[in-house]
Symmetry: C2
Subunit: 367 residues, 2 copies
């Protein structure tokens, strides 16, 4: 094999496929980037067996062939090369020479015969959205993806298509995040659970531009993302997702309207009194015009007031300040509305049109 | 005690004294910032028993007094406050209230009666240099301060004043860094060893401006740095420093002149083939016009050529690439000169006027 690419094109493509290189694995072949120049186009491929990414690399093929190279070493070498033309040649033993200006590297390669190529995905059911929108919706819902995998379903996100809307949901044991996006056209009903890790990695390589589209294809077991010169295929999580509609109620006794930034700053200060792993709640007390925020621990105490508008009953309710912060920080509105029933029932933060809904369970406290 | 300061002034002064808060200590009082408003001026003081820092805080004293506050908590609270006026009041039990706009914090304080104030330093012998120069010379010599404290003297730097020049030297077992700075006037001979940690912390709080001065005072056991509204006092390391003049020779058989940036990039690429903790040398071979750089390990191999000018004999010599990089990165010149005797003797990188001298020991290798 002999290919010639610019350093910057190599770097760009490596950065994309690196997202599917596992940080640790028992299958050492997975720690390689497969360079496939056996047909007319250069492809880089990586696959951690849950997520696989394949991208087209700009460049010239002087001699067709393939090789699998240690991803970290290959990436490090390319990163440190001067911004110039790079010539990669592979001999019959897969010894790979990387040349750039007066630098010459030799590293061992592998045939890659046992490298797992991406699974074939039937391109039947697709939806198209802007890369910006997908990147945003992942950021705005990832907060409540469960970090431990005790419950597999909680480690993923529900992607549900109903007519012309896409609903994305994540939930751990303490909170639910729901975002609803309007699509450009109507599609038949689809409901899949995408692994959280897949979404985090995909969102890192999306351009984030409104003009650039990403097309999503669904099959029974896989989701495929197609964008720019890249396709990414991920396994889906099997099972029937939680019935979140039953968990989120529209009833409330108290509605508080508050300036989001003030609220964030105030809760952020309160977190100083919560030690790592501690369950100390911040206590919110709403009367007609003021929200009083209090926290006290053995480190010290804080109280603070914020001007609010309130409908309905006064309330005193405790929350994990981290959960409030996580939700508020992914909401773009200047003012937010909190809907509460009583001090034992979940608080819901949502906008009028329900484009977003964040549910947070309260914490008991001793008055 | 009651004092009123702007948040930004508090923050600035906290950042300065934090440099003398030990990361761990058995004397818990040292983890506090001493606020002393017992006289007409507000002082913040911290002292880790090697380095002590005292700085003046802009603000108003409504009621004189003192208190010692947990440095981390106090710093975290102030950082998260809105940019506004901050009122700090302390009651008879040293319970401290911090108020800012509608936020009110209460944290326990200490009398600070066992707080170690800065030692008294006789201001006899002083030299004045710009903060820029001191900051630079620390950066340019810190590379060879020994990281482990097996040899106490190697963990410090020699500051030696000879007439109108300041010589700063550090050395570990493998290399020596020497910088010579011309002073504005002549001083009597002084020779002290300053702890490396002191210098690193001081350099972080120096403004780095050419126009701002720092005055250094020396006594038998201490060095005092006076700048802006701050004084920092550090213990000195006792003992007679190494005789570096005997270690650095001006004889050479080979002199190589090379573009510094090309040399750095090339060595940097070579480091890819050195595993952490490995002693694999990069091998330099100089003939009349080219320097060939080679490295080979079980990861792979690299070779590269750089155009040079050479005087004297051809040479083949091995180095720890990290040591070469460290020295080259703190040299500002575009071209550097390497002076070598043979493959067993140290290489010296220095300029014509000897404002800098970096000595690096070679590593044996099998040809």
């Amino acid at each position: 094999m002999k290919i010639i690419c610019s350093r910057s094109d190599l770097q760009k493509s490596i950065n994309i496929v690196m997202k599917a290189i596992p940080s640790k694995t028992t299958m050492s072949i997975l720690q390689n980037i497969m360079i496939d120049a056996s047909k007319g186009v250069i492809h880089f491929i990586a696959n951690d067996m849950e997520l696989g990414i394949e991208t087209v690399v700009e460049g010239r093929i002087d001699e067709k062939g393939k090789v699998a190279l240690d991803a970290k070493l290959f990436s490090d070498i390319v990163r440190k090369l001067p911004d110039s033309e790079v010539i990669i040649t592979v001999d019959n033993n897969y010894l790979t020479e990387i040349r750039c200006e007066k630098s010459k590297f030799k590293i061992p390669g592998l045939s890659g015969e046992d490298f797992p190529y991406l699974p074939y995905v039937e391109k039947d059911h697709s939806i198209a959205i802007s890369q910006f929108t997908l990147k945003e919706v992942i950021r705005q819902t990832a907060i409540s993806i469960a970090q431990n995998e005790n419950n597999k379903m909680m480690s993923g996100e529900l992607f549900e298509i109903i007519d012309n809307s896409l609903r994305v949901v994540s939930l751990d044991g303490h909170r639910i995040s729901i975002r609803r996006i309007e699509l450009r056209e109507s599609y038949e009903h689809k409901k899949v659970i995408v692994p959280g890790k897949t979404l985090m990695e995909i969102s890192k390589i999306l351009s984030g531009e409104v003009e650039d589209d990403v097309v999503l294809y669904f099959t029974k077991n896989h989701i495929l993302f197609e964008f720019d010169q890249t396709i990414a295929v991920s396994r889906l999580i099997e099972g029937e997702y939680f019935n979140v509609d039953k968990m989120v109620s529209n009833d409330y006794n108290t509605k508080v309207t508050i300036n989001k930034q003030e609220f964030i700053s105030c809760i952020d200060r309160a977190t100083l009194f919560v030690k790592e792993g501690d369950k100390k709640p911040v206590i919110l007390g709403a009367d007609d015009t003021l929200l009083t925020l209090k926290i006290a621990s053995d480190i010290g105490s804080m109280d603070e007031q914020i001007m609010i508008e309130k409908e309905g009953k006064d309330i005193l309710i405790g929350f994990n300040p981290r959960f409030l912060l996580d939700a508020l920080r992914v909401i773009d509105d200047e003012e937010v509305e909190l809907y509460m029933v009583n001090s034992k029932a979940p608080c819901i933060i949502r906008d009028e049109a329900s484009t977003y809904t964040y549910l947070i369970l309260p914490i008991n406290f001793n008055q």
